[in-house]
Point group: C2
Chain length 201, copies 2
C-alpha cells in the first residue's frame, strides 16, 4: 500500500519531465518506463493509459502554474506595487527550476485552458480580486491609463516568461551562455521597474 504510491509518484515525475522536454506524441511509453526504472506494464497498471497519465500531469501543471498568479492577486495585505514584485519573483524563481514549463503550458493551452482556473471563474478573479480593485484605483488616481487589466497582466507575463521560451535564440543573440544568464538575473530586478515606467506618461 505504501510501496505502490511511491513508484506511482516516481513515474509521474519522470513522465512530467519527458513530456515537458519533448511533448506528448514524441514521448514513448517504453521511454517513460525505462527512465523511471520500471517495467513497461507497470505504467498501465498505475495509470491505465499513456493518455490518462498525461491528463493527470497536465491538470496538475495548469492549476499550479495559474495558482501562483491568482493567490498573489487575491492577497488582501500587499499593495499594487508589491504584488507586481511578488508575481515577478515568484515566477522567475519557479522558472529557474523548471525552465521548460512555459513552453509546455503554452503548447497544451489549446486543449487544457479550462483547467487553468480550476474551480474559480476567470472573470471573477479579473474583476473582483484585490489586484483588480487596486488596478482600478490606480486608474482612478490617474497613475495608470484606462486599459483593461488583461492588457496589463499580458505585458507582465510576457516579460517574465518569454526569455525562457526563446532561450536558444536569445543566448545566441547575447553572444554566449554566460551573458544570457547575466541578462536573466538582471531581469528579476528590472521587470517591475519596466512595468511601472511603461505606463508613465
Amino acid at each position: 500500500m505504501k510501496k505502490g504510491e511511491l513508484t506511482e509518484e516516481r513515474i509521474k515525475q519522470t513522465a512530467k519531465l519527458l513530456f515537458q522536454q519533448k511533448g506528448y506524441a514524441a514521448v514513448k511509453t517504453r521511454e517513460i518506463a525505462e527512465a523511471s526504472g520500471i517495467n513497461l506494464a507497470l505504467l498501465n497498471y498505475y495509470f491505465r493509459s499513456k493518455e490518462n497519465l498525461f491528463q493527470q500531469i497536465m491538470a496538475d501543471t495548469m492549476r499550479t502554474f495559474m495558482q501562483r498568479l491568482l493567490l498573489i492577486m487575491m492577497q488582501p495585505e500587499s499593495d499594487f506595487r508589491q504584488k507586481i514584485i511578488d508575481i515577478t519573483e515568484g515566477y522567475l524563481d519557479l522558472l529557474e527550476q523548471e525552465p521548460n514549463l512555459p513552453l509546455f503550458i503554452m503548447n497544451n493551452l489549446g486543449t487544457h485552458a479550462d483547467e487553468l482556473f480550476g474551480e474559480m471563474q476567470p472573470d471573477k478573479v479579473f474583476t473582483r480580486s484585490f489586484f483588480a480593485q487596486q488596478y482600478r484605483e490606480e486608474i482612478n488616481a490617474k497613475r495608470l491609463p484606462d486599459q483593461p487589466l488583461v492588457q496589463f497582466v499580458c505585458n507582465l507575463l510576457s516579460l517574465i516568461v518569454f526569455p525562457y521560451i526563446a532561450s536558444p535564440m536569445l543566448s545566441r543573440m547575447a553572444g554566449d551562455e554566460e551573458r544570457f544568464l547575466k541578462m536573466l538575473k538582471e531581469r528579476k530586478k528590472m521587470i517591475p521597474v519596466w512595468i511601472e515606467n511603461m505606463y508613465q506618461k
Copy 2:
C-alpha cells in the same frame, strides 16, 4: 517538369500547416498525404522521408522569421524609433496570418537555432547593424540606460509575440474572444509607446 514542382509545393504548404498545429511527432505521413490530396508514396518520392520534409520546412521557417527582424535592423534609412515601429507592425501583420508561427518556432529552436541567422553571424548583426549603432547613440545621449541590446530586443519581441503564444489563456482572462481581439489590435499602436516609456527615468 512543371506538374511535379506544383504538387511538391502543395505538399510542403500542407505539411507546414500541420507541423505548426501539432508538432513533428504528432503529424503522421498518411495525414499529410490525405490533407494534400496525394498518395502516401508521393511524399517519399518528393521528399525521401518525413524527417527530410520537416527539415526543409524548418530551415525555411527559421530564416524567414529572423530575416524580418534583421532586414529592418540593417536599414540605413530609418531612425531608431521608426525601426521599432517597423519591427512591431511587420511582425504583428505576419502573426495575424500565421498565429501558430511563434509557438512552432520556439518549439524547434532547440534543434534549429543555428538556421535562424543563415549565413550571418549573430554577434555581427547585434554589434555592427545600424540598429545596434543607433541603440548605442541613444545610450550615449542618455536617452536610454546602458543595458545590452539583447535585453532591449527581448523585451520588444516579448510584447509582440506573447499574446499569440498564450492566446487561449488570455482570451479567457479577457472574458471573451471579441475583447481579446480588441486587445490585440490595441497593442499594434501601444507596443512602440510602451517600449519607449519603459526606459524613461
